[in-house]
């Protein structure tokens, strides 16, 4: 049980100023609780890889982000309060732009321990001109042109999963975006999970393990840890409030004050949401018509 931590401990032990941080979940199951905690602890000079990241604006707004490796991200400073706030703090991030496959390949090369990986995408585009992690190369067998994508090895990766055992054998299902290469490339790994289960539950369906225990540094049990995103088998998302409450500068300031720094942890955040939306709010997000798979059979 030595790996089981509070979220506060897990973040302060494993996310350090200057780190390159991989955030899993292309919307699906993104670890919102952990991101709020990083903002709360004001861990700075981060380089972020977080595809379709929504709550990443909190980190940008707080001036904590030096660099974004990105495929899509709000970059219109004129209309984006988080970027404006970063600018006012003199902490405007650098954006290194790829396609989503490009980011995925950078992480895959990281996972594989190779310095780069070739692709046929990005070629002919201006992404090649501005992103220093992309360059032309040629196949040593055929001579054909390829784009080389430089490996990214995150210092720390954070994944939120449906279940994990106390050792960190974590299982996630549903659409997996860039979760596998990202979390497996990361040198340190934080698992936040809806529920810590007996290892027996994991071992009766070992194909679902997305990262095994020896790769995991901290395990945090955090129900609704991905809210306001959705998580397969657990709850639907409801992102409109978050987007509305962080769009205008005065709202964003208030959100940071009241819902990040004004709260001690994610459970207080969830209580806050209930106080705003009603006692049954979180319950109402839970899956209404669960679909159950047949059991996966193993044994000998």
């Amino acid at each position: 049980m030595a790996k089981v931590k509070t979220l506060k401990e897990a973040i302060s032990d494993n996310v350090r100023s200057g780190d390159t941080v991989f955030i899993s979940g292309m919307r699906h199951g993104a670890p919102s609780a952990a991101i709020h905690e990083i903002a709360r602890q004001r861990i700075d000079h981060l380089s972020l890889i977080y595809c379709l990241g929504m709550t990443s604006i909190l980190l940008i707004a707080e001036g904590l982000v030096d660099k974004m490796y990105t495929g899509t991200a709000a970059q219109d400073e004129k209309t984006n309060a988080a970027l404006q706030r970063a600018r006012s703090l003199n902490k405007y991030p650098v954006f290194e732009e790829y396609s989503h496959f490009g980011i995925c390949l950078a992480l895959l090369a990281g996972q594989m321990g190779i310095p780069y990986i070739p692709t046929k995408t990005h070629l002919g585009s201006d992404l090649m001109k501005y992103n220093p992690n992309l360059t032309e190369d040629e196949c040593p067998f055929t001579g054909e042109k390829v784009a080389a994508v430089r490996a990214v090895v995150p210092d720390v990766g954070i994944i939120h999963t449906q279940i994990s055992d106390a050792e960190g054998n974590a299982q996630k299902w549903g659409s997996l975006g860039v979760d596998r290469p990202g979390i497996n490339a990361s040198n340190r790994v934080i698992v936040t999970t809806e529920k810590i289960v007996d290892s027996d539950v994991i071992r009766r369906n070992p194909n679902n393990t997305i990262i095994p225990s020896f790769r995991v540094d901290a395990v945090v049990e955090q129900p609704f840890g991905s809210f306001p995103n959705h998580l397969a088998g657990c709850y639907n998302g409801d992102t409109l409030d978050f987007q509305r409450e962080t769009r205008k500068m005065e709202d964003l300031e208030m959100y940071l004050k009241d819902q990040v720094h004004g709260l001690g942890d994610w459970n207080e955040y969830l209580e806050k949401r209930k106080s705003i939306k009603g006692r049954d709010y979180l319950e109402s997000l839970k899956i209404q018509n669960p679909i159950l798979s047949d059991p996966v059979i193993t044994g000998f």
Binding site: H100, F101, K120, G124, S175, G237
Partner: protein
Amino acid sequence: MEQGRKSPGYSAADQMVVSAARRINDGDVVYVGTGLPVMATYLAGYMHAPRCVVILEVGIIRTSPGLLSRSIETLETQTMSDSLSDLFYVSSMAQHGFFDLGFMGAGQVDRYGNVNDTGIGDYYNPTHRWLGCGGANDLVSCCPKTIIILRQSKQRFPERVDFNTCPGYLDGTPGAREAAGLPPNTGPSMVITNLGIYEFENGEMVLTSIHADAGVTLEQVKAEVGWDLKVSSQLEETKPPTEEELFTLRTKVDPDGLYVDGKRAAPR
């Protein structure tokens, strides 16, 4: 700009979605971008292409049309898929050439089909910024055919994009894509807007159909293009949406009215 509102029965956005849906053949494996492409693909699935395969970049592969939702990635979109994989798997299959058709939106598209999802003006000091391409570069780099769907305006149809996020036929010279290293026999095949339909001849966009029934004229189209537009000698009038198409769009594809006039009713 509100061309395309002559007929009370449908909007220009309806025409755009319906025209796009018709381009999907039954059984096609379609790599679908967020927004209107999903609407059009689901419409095709409910109409003439029940066996088309819907591929979403997050790893969703489904042969039953899903429920449209506010975002491309929700539990509705995932549920009862044939396969839930990941972006690596889907993009690998695209890069290998296993897909039939890509289907994407765009910030701008130029004379040679190059798409700008990045910015206008200097890269480091743009006058306008989009979000970036997400998976769209991968899609148009790899798919044998790609349909680009967007609302048309002169600003969104420049002669050359300032930033080429998703390569079309580059400078339009023959073999330019192959010379850049892109896979052979790929590239944008069609652009569908609220005004008309464009195809590519020798790497250049050519108007092939006008949404005439919706009240669009050739002059209107030309006014919203940033270069001297080529018009096909076989220019057609777009077949307007059928009642069945409109009924299916409103009752099955988007019963909750998540999309209004081709735009999301609420932020993504």
